[in-house]
């Protein structure tokens, strides 16, 4: 333990702009995945009861799936306009703004489609508490739709940043884009669960 200290060699102290966080969105997605894993395990356990039945997925779900996937394409287009080595002209913002707007509109259309799916189920007398399958249908689609609305809110914020300030932080853009694509991927997973297990 008897270590000795030598006189310091003077080393320069560095400064610079503080770093942003790139890992934030991935951490958030981890948590959301865990939550849907919890819902899925609840489904597997509940499935074992004698009152488990079957609920057919309303056709509109497939249409809204297509809408959501299209919105992902729009999101990706918007990202490419802003990021990467394309010609960095200011009026490029116009194109990216349009793509963001398209993403928002398609996202809202998706949520509207989910509402139509709910109406379709209600028309068959299937409500939240009717049977365990209908419970999970409303639960999974509802919670997902809530997260999509959260993503739309972030997209609106992004839109305002682009429109008013004509610039946006790289990390914010990345975060919103990754989140939006995750919403589509999550939906595809839920669609499989709904079609195969409900």
């Amino acid at each position: 333990m008897s270590l000795t200290i030598h006189s310091p060699a003077v080393l320069p102290r560095l400064s610079g702009p503080p770093k942003g966080s790139e890992s934030g969105i991935w951490i958030a997605l981890f948590a959301i995945t865990m939550s849907f894993a919890a819902f899925t395990s609840a489904l597997f356990i509940r499935e074992a009861s004698t009152d488990w039945t079957h609920v057919a997925a309303p056709r509109v779900l497939f249409a809204s799936t297509a809408v959501l996937l299209l919105s992902s394409l729009m999101m990706e287009a918007s990202r490419r306009e802003l990021d990467g080595s394309r010609a960095p002209k200011i009026n490029e913002h116009g194109r990216s703004l349009a793509f963001v707007a398209a993403t928002v509109l398609l996202g809202l259309t998706f949520v509207a489609g989910q509402y139509l799916a709910w109406r379709s189920l209600a028309a068959q007398g299937l409500y939240l508490a009717t049977n365990p399958n209908s419970s999970f249908f409303y639960l999974l689609t509802g919670v997902h739709a809530l997260h999509v609305l959260g993503g739309i809110t972030a997209l609106l914020y992004l839109f305002i940043q682009l429109a008013v300030q004509k610039s946006v932080r790289r990390n914010l853009l990345r975060g919103v884009v990754v989140y939006w694509h995750f919403m589509a991927a999550l939906w595809l997973y839920l669609l499989v669960v709904i079609c195969v297990r409900l």
Binding site: S15, S35, A38, R46, L82, H93, L139
Partner: protein, 590 residues
């Protein structure tokens, strides 16, 4: 493209105005203090609830002055009814586990010191950080509101097992809107914790200063990092569980409620649900939760001890890897809360193996601490004594866990006071000792003043002896078979145990009273304490390289550069027996 995309994080300027400076502050230091204050309020409320419980157990007909005003139906004339006892029990557990043990060592100290210890200006997402505190505060308000509704708080325990918690008011007093408020409060709490954990993880991964490699982070930082990783995933499971419970209660679903239940002479209109599903979801969260409660404590104690021993611990790396193993294993043991629950008995054996295995990293950490004491130069002060007291309590609490980890012994000890003794020792005493240790240690940094050492030592001695007097006897009661969560003891074999219960109650009231010494010390020192220097404990980590209290952006105009790990103690040199992490001095044999 740099006009469109900015690389830098959003840096906030120093706040102006009372609201932005003290209420909706984005400064992690203010947020840390807000969490600590909320925890302080919660612990005093929780402690008073426990006094009422202990009082009632030994003097059931006592009229508690003033209680009738708050609890018209729960305690008419000031006499606690059995249902109110269970309400007190439920709220005591809920407040302590969520609002004290998750708030103080983790959100409180972690928010304040994690950015500083890694050399960052603030957390990665200051606005989310502010939102996480206020979300937690709203959760607190919603929970406490349950005391003031006519039917009172829920009586289902902090564990809220279904179907008791899922059926609604037919199942008993407090199980109507009281339980709803509880579920909503905990759901909101989950959101606050998720936001907080996100910040901790992102900040640790992305905002470390130059030279601050992961292994150069202090053990306390590692503990917060591991805890937040666990917390992110654990609260992400509790939130869905709360959603499902709320749906069963308010929307008529049957996730947890089977058919054919007759409650209060009414056949319940549910079918197919599984009460065990609630237990699985809850404990899948609940077991990692107790490690969320203890790991920051382990980190704080390791950090304080490194400083108080004036030598490095035998191996910080081993402690860090052990904490990681505990974090990893914590996901595999939840079934040990369910050995006699009706779960497949083969699963019980499966769960018992990782439960017993967790003893290994916990023992490694304890032996490293004990081994490090040998040959040390122990500095005596309130902070170090609470850290040393922690080791004693951690051993006591850990050893009783060893019994409960074995399913065959659990057949006899489950739901007895033995279990209550075990978790109080580890959570109610050990973790609290770590909070005290951290408070005495870091108060100078946070306020620029020293706490009173005489009062601190007095607080330590009464609390150390007092908590042993309270909780060690719980184990004896459990060995006889004294069942827990009973509002009164009417069993044939209980009269012989009442003297021990009286002893416990008196110890609890006395030890509780001594906590006011701490509270007084905290408040008085804040305004009248001796001014503190930047480094009163001669510490090496980054928090001691900045003024007490630190400026709004922690490090001033230039970010620090780190040259060493924080364990450079026990050295010989002109500046003393330690070298700070920011010092470029070269050390032989590092």
């Amino acid at each position: 493209m740099e006009e469109a995309l900015k690389s830098q994080a959003h840096v906030h300027a120093p706040a102006e105005g009372f609201l932005w400076k003290y209420v909706f502050s984005l400064d992690h230091k203010v947020i840390g203090k807000q969490y600590y204050a909320l925890a302080l309020l919660s612990v005093f409320v929780g402690m008073v609830l426990s006094w009422l419980m202990r009082f009632h157990l030994v003097w059931p007909n006592a009229k508690i002055p003033g209680l009738a005003l708050i609890a018209k139906t729960g305690a008419p004339g000031g006499i606690i009814t059995p249902e109110y006892y269970l309400s007190l029990l439920t709220m005591h557990g809920t407040l302590m586990v969520f609002f004290v043990l998750t708030n103080a060592p983790f959100a409180g100290f972690g928010n304040y010191f994690l950015p500083i210890q890694i050399g960052a200006e603030d957390m990665a997402f200051p606005r989310f950080n502010m939102m996480s505190f206020w979300t937690t505060f709203v959760a607190f308000v919603v929970l406490i509101a349950a005391f003031f509704i006519p039917d009172g708080p829920p009586i289902s325990g902090w564990t809220a097992y279904a179907p008791l918690s899922a059926i609604g008011k037919d199942a008993g007093p407090g199980l109507g809107w009281g339980q709803n408020l509880w579920v909503i409060a905990i759901g909101i709490f989950c959101i606050g914790q998720l936001l907080g954990s996100l910040n901790f993880i992102a900040t640790t991964l992305d905002l470390r200063a130059k030279g601050m490699t992961l292994m150069r982070m202090p053990i306390s930082t590692w503990a917060w990092f591991i805890t937040s990783s666990i917390g992110l995933l654990a609260f992400a499971v509790l939130l869905p569980a709360c959603v499902l419970l709320l749906l069963d209660r308010m929307a008529g679903t049957s996730f947890f409620i089977p058919s054919g239940l007759v409650v209060s002479d009414r056949l319940q209109n549910h079918a197919g649900g599984s009460p065990l599903l609630w237990q699985h979801l809850f404990w899948f969260f609940g077991h990692p939760e107790v490690y969320i409660a203890i790991l920051p404590a382990v980190g704080i104690v390791s950090h304080v001890l490194t400083n108080s021993l004036r030598k490095p611990l035998l191996s910080a790396k081993v402690i860090i890897y052990s904490m990681m193993s505990i974090g990893f294993l914590s996901w595999m043991v939840w079934g040990h809360h369910m050995f006699v629950s009706g779960m497949n008995p083969f699963s019980s054996l499966l769960f018992s193996f990782p439960t017993l295995t967790i003893t290994i990293p916990a023992t490694i950490i304890t032996l490293i601490w004990l081994g490090s004491l040998y040959g040390a130069n122990i500095q005596i002060n309130s902070a170090s004594f609470f850290a040393l007291g922690f080791i004693s309590m951690f051993v006591s609490g850990g050893v009783s866990g060893f019994f409960l980890a074995q399913p065959s012994i659990d057949i006899y000890l489950h739901a007895t006071y033995f279990v209550v003794g075990h978790f109080h020792m580890v959570m109610g005493v050990a973790a609290i000792f770590a909070i005290f240790s951290g408070t005495y240690f870091w108060f100078p940094k946070m306020t620029g003043r020293m706490m009173n050492e005489t009062l601190g030592m007095l607080h330590f001695w009464i609390t150390f002896v007092g908590t042993y007097c309270i909780f060690m006897p719980f184990h004896y009661l459990g060995l006889v078979g004294n069942v827990r969560r009973y509002a009164s003891f009417v069993d044939d074999f209980m009269p012989a145990l009442m003297p021990l219960h009286k002893f416990i109650t008196i110890a609890a009231l006395t030890t509780g009273a001594a906590q006011f010494i701490f509270l007084f010390n905290l408040i008085h020192s804040r305004f009248r304490g001796k001014p503190a220097s930047a480094n009163p404990w001669k510490g090496t980590s980054l928090e001691w390289s900045v003024p007490s209290p630190p400026p709004w952006n922690n490090f001033g105009r230039e970010r620090p550069v780190v040259y060493h790990d924080p364990y450079q103690y026990g050295l010989k040199g002109s500046t003393g027996d330690f070298v700070m992490q920011t010092s470029p001095e070269q050390i032989l044999n590092e």
